[in-house]
């Protein structure tokens, strides 16, 4: 009998402390239940190492790149006369050593990428 009372007391005490935990979040007794959600974004993908594509289980995203117009890929379009002889040595690729490439962006222009809208905005939100 005494054990039963102790167990009940313990149970009630634990319930009370759990309610206190929830109350500490600012949740009142009338808090409405909404389904729990967890949205995730991967930092590696955020650094532009991943592909931006929708995912059901994990929302991926890419940091944006600055707006740039579409341009031809050098391997397809770079003409032999693309740079005059006077400039070839002086302005060649070697003049952009890695340590001098001080800012970087994905080279793909933004309109070559798939757009990804990750937040599905409710159609039933309160309005005015």
């Amino acid at each position: 009998m005494s054990d039963e009372i102790d167990n009940t007391k313990d149970l009630l005490s634990k319930r009370r402390s759990r309610r206190q935990v929830l109350a500490s979040l600012g949740l009142g007794a009338a808090a409405l239940y909404v389904a729990p959600t967890l949205l995730s974004m991967d930092q590696a993908e955020a650094r532009g190492h991943g592909h931006s594509r929708p995912s059901r289980s994990r929302r991926s995203y890419s940091r944006p790149s600055y707006s740039r117009p579409s341009y031809s890929r050098p391997r397809y379009s770079r003409p032999r006369y693309s740079r005059p002889h006077y400039s070839r040595a002086r302005y060649s690729h070697e003049h952009y050593p890695r340590q001098e490439r001080y800012y970087s962006r994905p080279q793909r222009s933004r309109w070559e990428r798939d757009g990804v809208i990750e937040i599905r905005l409710s159609r039933v939100l309160p309005r005015w």
Partner: protein, 399 residues
Amino acid sequence: MPNLQDYALEGIGPCLRLVNAEPLESILTAVMPGWPITPCVEQEKTPDVCIWRHPKGYWQQAPALPDGALLDTAVGTACSVIADAAGAYFYRHPDLVGLHCGSVEINGQLVIFPDTYRAGKSTLTAAFAAAGQRVYGDDVLALNNAGEGIALGVAPRLRLPLPEALSPAFQAFVNAHLGPHDTRYGYLRLDDTQLAAHGQRCPLGAILLIDRDDTIVEPQLTRLQPGDGLWQLLRQNFAEHESDQALIERFLPLLQHLPCFLLRYHDAYEAAQWLCARWQSDATECLSPARALQAELPALHSALDLADGRYWRASEAALTFPLGDELFVIAKEGGAIHRLNTTSRAVWALLQHEPMDLELLSETLASFFTGAELAQVRQDTAHLLGQFQQAGLINAIRV
């Protein structure tokens, strides 16, 4: 001898060389009217951005284009130079964060609308200009530690041809202000009352998420959770070298006081006029935050078995950042960022308090929340715990 001219940009210094590409100078001046670009003496060290005239357009090399790029029009080349100039500007000013957003000044405060490409930022930015508001940018805005937006001084750029569905008044505004353009894009020619100059500052007043929808009859404005704004800023910034933890810590104080709204509209010009007429009126001030955005349902395979009897505890290594009713969690250094809504945050708090299993959690939630049905709560919680486990946010323990 080639015609070679170097240029300096305000806030960056000498950074551009044009080789036989004189026509670009006037184009650049026109598309970045608020960002002074001045000829300077030939630099001993080659400027970072070099452009040569090319029979098929212009050839550009830049740190971000190590293999070079052939651009077929002067406007396209100017756009590419702006991209490099913005990158260089943020490199030179590491205290600033580059936000990918449209931004306009309304009543002395900046309203920013960060969104993905082709979401309508530029059109809405231009529409605000047509509605009499001052533009800070349609693509990039610098943000300082004081929560002020800083203009780069670049004109808005619209995709051409304009959709026929645009309102006649907006069409007329664009036609009257169309500056340098090619067949694909056109920059607006705005004066200094319509476009903020490079370096001009203005405190942020609100974040606007935009949703263009052809079925909308009248614009609608909804107050969102501050977490919606933070989530968007975390995705739409150019701070490639700053950790997301540092970014959250940077954005968090700003978001505590910055209202976040969802603007749904059909016509950008109508939306801009409509919003300006109501901005900071009682109508916007009394909008109560939406309870929750409807999220895409996560994959079901991650759910725990409903009979799972393991006890779980929240990972002690995780970093947490409360914002409004929500919680942002980074499980470990360099790891993913997780956004927990009210109920997920409650589960997280309970698992920080004591180890609990699925049933105990479900009973606790069902007895606490109004309108919670135990069977549904059990299913939702199983799903959430599965996601927590996959994300490394909780650990199973022996009791």
